[in-house]
């Protein structure tokens, strides 16, 4: 088990290094364009040369890369061009905001989706299963930009119940969190539900469940004690994947509701070619992706002995 964890961890680090190299190649191989982006299109050639020299851009490529990587590891991401402050000062609060949004979504999605999935999977083909399955397929197939408009039309413009944007300009407000979370939940719960349902129904077909039912155990005990334990392994991985999606997949929602989160920041950085911010955002996104994947793998192995000893 320990060797497995170490190996997974090593893969994770390797992935990050490869991505960082690609990122660096894409954004910083052409030093002249870096200087233009930092100093603006109206800067003179002379100013750019001075800047390049002062910031070590005339060094060989590999030295620049390792210096950059070294700075990155200790959290020095450079200065944002658009915000005119160190990248960290913008990045961490925004990441925190998205964390809040993601957490709130998860708090709703996980119990809701697991309950519905288990209910549907208990008896495949039943009326309840059909209702839940069709319902979740419908909500999942409505893209966020459509459901955001729809929900805003109803709750903001028609009912006048909820605030229309979530910029949190006056400090944190639970009220402003409702609509973005609603959109994310609507889009996401169906998928997790379907996965749970598939896993549950598979378990329900197995012999040991049949045996448990036949030996006269109460149905409740069969489900809670025997079925759930195995049925929840697959959803665990799916849920871990949702964390990754919640980080970079929320761009649409954050843009629509003017929520000051990581997704909106990534979009803003790209639109304004704020290269140091793009680099930091990309690396954070990649880190979260590989980290959640690693946790999912390790967790899955722990939960499922068949894989552990394979």
């Amino acid at each position: 088990m320990l060797i497995f964890v170490v190996r997974r961890f090593g893969t994770m680090v390797l992935t990050m290094v490869v991505v960082s190299l690609l990122l660096f190649l894409l954004l910083e191989i052409n030093v002249a364009s870096v200087a233009i982006k930092v100093l603006g299109p109206y800067s003179s050639e002379e100013q750019r040369q001075i800047w390049l020299e002062a910031n070590g851009y005339l060094e060989p490529f590999y030295i620049r890369y390792f210096t950059w990587l070294g700075n990155f590891v200790v959290g020095d991401f450079g200065e944002s061009i658009r915000f005119k402050v160190p990248v960290g000062e913008v990045l961490w609060p925004r990441l925190g905001n998205t964390g809040i949004l993601g957490l709130a979504t998860m708090i709703v999605v996980v119990p809701l989706a697991l309950c519905l999935g288990v209910l549907a999977g208990m008896k495949e083909g039943s009326g309840l299963d059909r209702t839940i399955s069709v319902g979740s397929i419908i909500t999942t197939s409505i893209p966020e930009f459509a459901s955001a408009v729809l929900l805003s039309a109803v709750f903001v413009f028609y009912l006048d119940l909820l605030p229309g944007t979530s910029s949190m300009a006056g400090g944190f407000s639970l009220n402003q969190l409702i609509l973005p979370v609603m959109v994310l939940v609507l889009y996401d719960f169906g998928y997790v539900t379907r996965m749970t349902r598939a896993s549950m129904s598979e378990v329900m077909m197995t012999h040991y469940i049949r045996t448990a039912v036949l030996k006269g155990l109460p149905y409740k005990t069969v489900i809670l004690r025997h079925a759930l334990r195995n049925a929840l392994i697959a959803p665990f991985t799916v849920i871990m994947l949702q964390i990754n999606w919640l980080l970079s997949g929320v761009i649409v929602v954050e843009f629509f509701y003017a929520y000051k989160g990581f997704g909106a920041l990534l979009l803003e950085a790209s639109l304004n070619q704020d290269i140091f911010l793009i680099e930091a955002c990309a690396m954070v996104a990649v880190f979260v992706a590989v980290a959640t994947q690693t946790i999912a793998d390790v967790g899955y192995t722990y939960l499922n002995p068949r894989i552990r000893f394979a």
Binding site: A169, F256, K260
Partner: protein, 569 residues
């Protein structure tokens, strides 16, 4: 002997003022234009209103305003993008100037009625030839650091603006104070590289509160130029203090900067001891609602903000229906132009440019892209609401002419052109260009649209050979022509270079009499229209919304924020 006129207070009156009165009497001039020109020539606003009243037989007192007593205090929350705000002379977004406008002030102020009034300058006089302008500065104005405001500040600002190293667009605006010099360098072809520098003796400080400007050529619009948004007056030590208004927000204005967090919010708080009338608001908060204008309306619908920067024409129906929300409209000279750089292939050939021009049906684009709210453009960037506007014959769409021009230019099988569209002033830009693409096709032009985000467009707006650029409103036609079409000025994005045009524009800019100037504008407009460097589908109206608690707000055609008289019910 030259007659010297004085008003009741003994102040000298510009000799052109009686002529103005005569024109108003005869009906050659409307009331608004009379007020505008008379105040520009140094007549006080009150005196100008009184003169107009006497001539037109109207009561001097304006009609009674609804009897609501303004309330002190309150916070105004306004939805607008919050950007970096370093150097006012380099502002290229009105949004930046709106935050700065509470902190730093201008010499003159053009109101939402298009009339320019004294501000930090308490008055001005122009010489008869309009080449010498004397600005008397207000006394007793203090900077927020305790220094006295005076002529030194104004002189320091002019020096910064007219220094090419500063990189301010003001150098084009005040072209009459700048001269061309040989930099001593040669370009690749061996031609001398010309640079610009401030004319020797372009201004002098008469005393601590008087500044005289000496121009190379007559300019009528000096006071209006001094309210163009990058001309805010900063403290004389602005450069020495680090040239950063955010870090060192010293100003004469009624508010002080509490915070400016780019992309999030900016907060201005009422300052004690402001020199002017006390402002009603305690605080102004600018809240960044991102780039999605649907979110802006949603924010005002749910009362999260009290006003928004603007909304699009296609949101008009929705805004009209929002309860508790007031829609404001301003007729403007705002526009966007599809401009072609005349020094880049294939636009070096005037026939190609004219072929593109011949394909455009302006009225149709106005109807399709802007629901007819505004006026059709005429490819010369002078709007019907500009006082000097001369009506040229209507242009007609002519596909046969376009095909012939293209064939003559060596493209008998048509041509493919790519235009960059940044939609910097809203989605209507893309709608207009999509419709224009269809209009181009029968003329043998395959117009490809390169759609890009607005902030990215501003990186290339003056570099791309063919781009669709939005231009804000300016009160006079000659102002925008001087900024954008005179040879060699920084904002000349089409690289337009026509000495005949420059000369005609110089002449027009020097004529005080609006009727005479209008005659000259026929030539200016025709040259620009025939050279077909800037195709202009339409002039657009602009819209914004406030909730009904906001009182005393008048929308400015340039979207400038003037919140001095705004109060919250």
């Amino acid at each position: 002997m030259k007659k010297v006129l004085n008003d009741e207070t003994g102040k000298r009156v510009h000799p052109y003022v009686p002529e103005l009165c005569e024109q108003l009497r005869k009906g050659d001039l409307d009331r608004r234009e009379f007020l505008r020109t008379a105040t520009l020539l140094g007549v006080s606003t009150a005196a100008a209103y009184s003169m107009a009243g006497k001539i037109l037989g109207e009561p001097v007192t304006k009609r009674a305003v609804a009897a609501e007593t303004p309330k002190m205090g309150g916070t105004l929350r306004w939805g607008m993008q919050v950007q970096e705000m370093t150097d006012p002379s380099k502002f290229d977004w009105v949004e930046k100037s709106n935050v700065a406008r509470g902190i730093v002030e201008y010499l003159c102020r053009t109101g939402s009625d298009n009339i320019t009034r004294p501000y930090l300058a308490e008055g001005w006089e122009a010489s008869d030839d309009l080449k010498t302008w004397t600005f008397k500065l207000r006394q007793g104005v203090k900077w927020s650091n305790g220094d006295d405001f005076g002529a030194d500040d104004v002189v320091a600002n002019f020096k910064r603006w007219l220094d090419p190293k500063t990189g301010s667009s003001n150098i084009g605006l005040f072209a009459a104070m700048v001269e061309e010099v040989d930099t001593g360098k040669k370009d690749d072809k061996g031609n001398p590289v010309m640079g610009k520098r401030m004319t020797e003796g372009a201004f002098d400080k008469v005393n601590a509160h008087t500044v005289k400007l000496h121009l190379n050529s007559p300019v009528l619009s000096m006071p209006e130029n001094l309210y163009n948004y990058p001309t805010a007056i900063v403290h004389r030590n602005f450069d020495a203090d680090g040239a950063d208004l955010t870090k060192n927000p010293i100003g004469t204005g009624p508010f002080e900067l509490v915070e400016n967090k780019v992309g999030e919010r900016a907060v201005l708080r009422k300052k004690q001891g402001y020199w002017g009338d006390e402002v009603y608001l305690d605080e102004i908060q600018y809240i960044d609602l991102g780039e999605d204008r649907a979110a802006w309306l949603a924010a005002i619908a749910s009362k999260q903000v009290d006003g928004i920067y603007q909304f699009d024409v296609n949101q008009l129906d929705m805004a009209d229906r929002l309860p508790g929300t007031v829609v404001h409209t301003a007729v403007t000279a705002q526009t966007a132009i599809a401009r072609m750089q005349m020094d880049k292939e294939p636009f070096t050939d005037i026939r190609v440019r004219q072929a593109v021009q011949a394909c455009m049906d302006h009225q149709k684009l106005l109807d399709l892209a802007y629901r007819g709210k505004g006026a059709p453009g005429e490819d010369h960037h002078v709007a019907p609401i500009h006082p000097e506007y001369f009506k040229l014959p209507m242009q007609k769409q002519d596909h046969a002419k376009a095909k012939k021009l293209l064939a003559d230019a060596g493209h008998p099988n048509g041509i493919t052109l790519k235009i960059d569209v940044g939609s910097t002033s809203g989605k209507w830009e893309l709608d207009a260009m999509q419709a224009f693409k269809e209009q181009c096709a029968p003329g043998g032009i395959n117009l490809e649209l390169n759609v890009m985000p607005s902030s990215q467009y501003w990186e290339i707006w003056d570099k791309t050979p063919f781009g669709f650029t939005s231009w804000t409103h300016r009160p006079l036609g000659v102002m925008v022509l001087n900024l954008g079409y005179r040879s060699g000025v920084p904002w000349n994005e089409s690289h337009y270079n026509n000495p005949a045009f420059d000369k005609a524009l110089d002449e027009a800019s020097a004529i005080l009499d609006v009727n005479e100037r209008r005659k000259k504008m026929e030539q200016v407009e025709s040259i620009l229209q025939n050279d077909a460097v800037a195709l202009q589908p339409l002039w657009r109206a602009v819209f914004t919304a406030t909730n009904d608690k906001v009182k005393g707000y008048q929308m400015h055609p340039t979207l400038y924020h003037q919140f001095q008289k705004v109060w919250m019910a």
